[in-house]
Symmetry: C2
Subunit: 184 residues, 2 copies
DNA sequence: GTCTATACAAGGATAGAC
DNA sequence: GTCTATCCTTGTATAGAC
């Protein structure tokens, strides 16, 4: 991995662990093993580097989700695969957590990948739910868009709850329960 | 409101808007109108003042929820009151957001009110759900604890989604959808 | 109780040598 | 491309006068 790459990956980790406000250039340099001048040679500053890191995390999140969504199986099975995929619930969502970062939300460039990711995710889930409703797998009365919002919220809120209580178990309780309610 | 009180309230606002890491003593002084020496006279430092602010926000959140839970009406009505209560979804949850603050989570004193609030909230919802299951309002097959986790997660995740997409509407979609799934 | 002065580390970045 | 030196601001706190 070259220096530029190490800078991006280290920034991704730090943004995940400490957020944008809590991550200093110095911390990035230390974690990546790059020097002061090296970092400012590859990137214009903290926001520029953060944009690269956030964009990559956003793409990563989408491609993982899409892999679950396109697996063979029924709609409910595919949604179940997504909801029950192994996650380190106590670490939280690397993209969702940026939502609490005032300096990220205040900068349209940094904010955009976050916005796009969640718009895409709920849209994609709504498509699946509409498909399940059409083929009779799901109740004819469900609202695909609203249900997609609820499922996405359960995942994001599951992270919050897990971190708050210090227990990864509540994440599983929440997502399993959402699935059970959906299946009925 | 005396100085001590203004310091606490200003800190509550800033923690809500910018989190612990993003809130400086200077910003607190400016917002509260208190001087440097005044702040350090009333509190030992940033963590001490933050503890007062966090504790109050936690109590506030619990008492609002309890007011909804003890209203007259069926279990589903009371849960519905709680879920549909007016909130500024774009501001997020003042307690839930602290979950993303590394320095809060790392300090057991600051962390405790957050932990207790969510343990209490899920426990209380589980009691209500068990009551509804017992009196036939809810499906006999539901798991109160797991469903409580899902409902709490929908609210917390609804905030995340609303902030991510910039639309308070998704919060309502998510909570309404959760209620609809519960009612069936 | 509140104010001002002072202190010192950390955040964030630029300049120029190599 | 990377290193070191340097710069100015902000964060966080203490000391002592009023």
């Amino acid at each position: 991995m070259d220096t530029r790459e190490r800078l991006i990956e280290s920034t991704r980790e730090l943004l995940w662990e400490r957020g944008y406000v809590g991550t200093s250039p110095k911390a990035i340099q230390e974690r990546s093993g790059a020097g002061q001048g090296s970092m400012y040679h590859h990137f214009h500053g903290k926001p520029d580097l953060a944009l690269a890191a956030i964009s990559r995390s956003a793409e990563d999140m989408r491609s993982r989700a899409e892999a679950d969504f396109t697996r063979p199986g029924t709609v409910v099975e595919r949604i179940s695969t997504y909801l029950r995929r192994e996650r380190d619930a106590l670490k939280g969502c690397p993209v969702g957590r940026l939502t609490q970062d005032p300096d990220v939300m205040a900068d349209p460039r940094l904010r955009r990948p976050v916005e796009e990711t969640f718009a895409w995710l709920t849209g994609r889930l709504a498509e699946l739910l509409a498909e399940g409703r059409a083929n009779g797998e799901l109740d004819a009365g469900i609202d695909p868009a609203a249900t997609a919002a609820a499922l996405t919220a359960v995942v994001q809120g599951g992270y919050v709850l897990a971190r708050a209580t210090g227990s990864a178990n509540v994440f599983t309780q929440a997502t399993d329960s959402a699935l059970a309610l959906l299946r009925r």
